[in-house]
Amino acid sequence: MLQRINLALAFFLLTLAFGSQPLASAQESTKRDSQAKTLETGTFHGKVHQTSGRATVYQEADGKLVLRLTNFKTSNGPDVHVILIAAKDADDDANFLKTDTGRLELGKLKGNEGDQNYEIPTGTDLSKYQTVSIYCERFNANFGAAPLEKF
């Protein structure tokens, strides 16, 4: 009897912990504008959590900045975000970001595979934030980094 109650309690706790998380899906409508300019681009590297693909920063006609990931692939994980970091690159072997590295949150990673867009806040200084990082906040782990170079 006690065992049953305990099992039920465990399941209840698990449901509470995970059940509330919405399924990740990205059905965003995107603005279509042929005047978009390609500002910067770079490719991802990451060994501990295999990360590959391309990161490109576009500027739309109205001045808005968009980060687009293409041919993208990384490992799935808990609490993974897309951030810009104020560094020229992030080391593969270090894999953890230094605490004093400047960070700019772009949003939760929409999917660990596939093409996806993220808005960059207007007024962001791209000469300061030079690298895109796929960043696991829970463990301060850098899954992969793409240093951006002028296109």
Binding site: T38, Y58, N76, N112, E113, F151
Partner: protein, 169 residues
């Protein structure tokens, strides 16, 4: 006697379960190991019209070899399928008989500054200028999955001025 022993073990078991279950739950929450097998795929369209007449399909950065060389090499494709190579922010040193060629990144000749035997290459043309943005037509037959490296190549001295490995855009 037997009864008390059984109940003691039972009591201890519940303590173990009481500690073990929360530990497992916390570990699961932290590491989410099931995500190792679960992929989340997305496929968003580009934030601009994909019917734009000019699309970059490959790009790479030039790195200097025998002579300092820098800039970006990109392959663009027009709506009708024509491709051309474009060099931007480009600068290299001037020299005699300098060509823009495509080579295969697997070619061992590319490891050195000077090619000893023969560079298995695909000629794109004489370098138009040693500085500035410039375009070169790509032959329709050029297979960029094999010829994936742009080489600024001085044919007279078999010197590799600079190379750019092209990656899918």
């Amino acid at each position: 006697m037997n009864g008390t022993l059984t109940s003691w073990v039972l009591g201890k078991k519940w303590i173990l379960v009481g500690i073990g279950v929360p530990v497992l739950v916390v570990a699961w929450w932290a590491f989410r190991p099931e995500k190792l097998w679960v992929n989340v795929k997305v496929n968003e369209p580009a934030p601009f019209s994909s019917s734009a007449d000019l699309q970059p399909v490959y790009t790479g950065l030039l790195a200097g070899r025998a002579h300092p060389t820098s800039g970006r090499a990109s392959v663009y494709q027009t709506a009708d399928g024509k491709r051309h190579l474009r060099l931007t922010d480009f600068t290299t040193s001037n020299g005699p008989d300098v060509h823009v060629v495509l080579a295969q990144s697997s070619d061992d000749s590319l490891r050195q500054d000077f090619v000893k035997s023969q560079l298995g290459d695909l000629e794109l043309g004489l370098l138009k200028a040693n500085q500035g943005d410039q375009n070169y037509d790509l032959p329709d037959s050029a297979d960029l999955s094999r010829y994936d490296t742009v080489v600024i190549y001085c044919e007279r001295f078999h010197a590799i001025f600079g190379v750019a490995k092209l990656d899918k855009f």
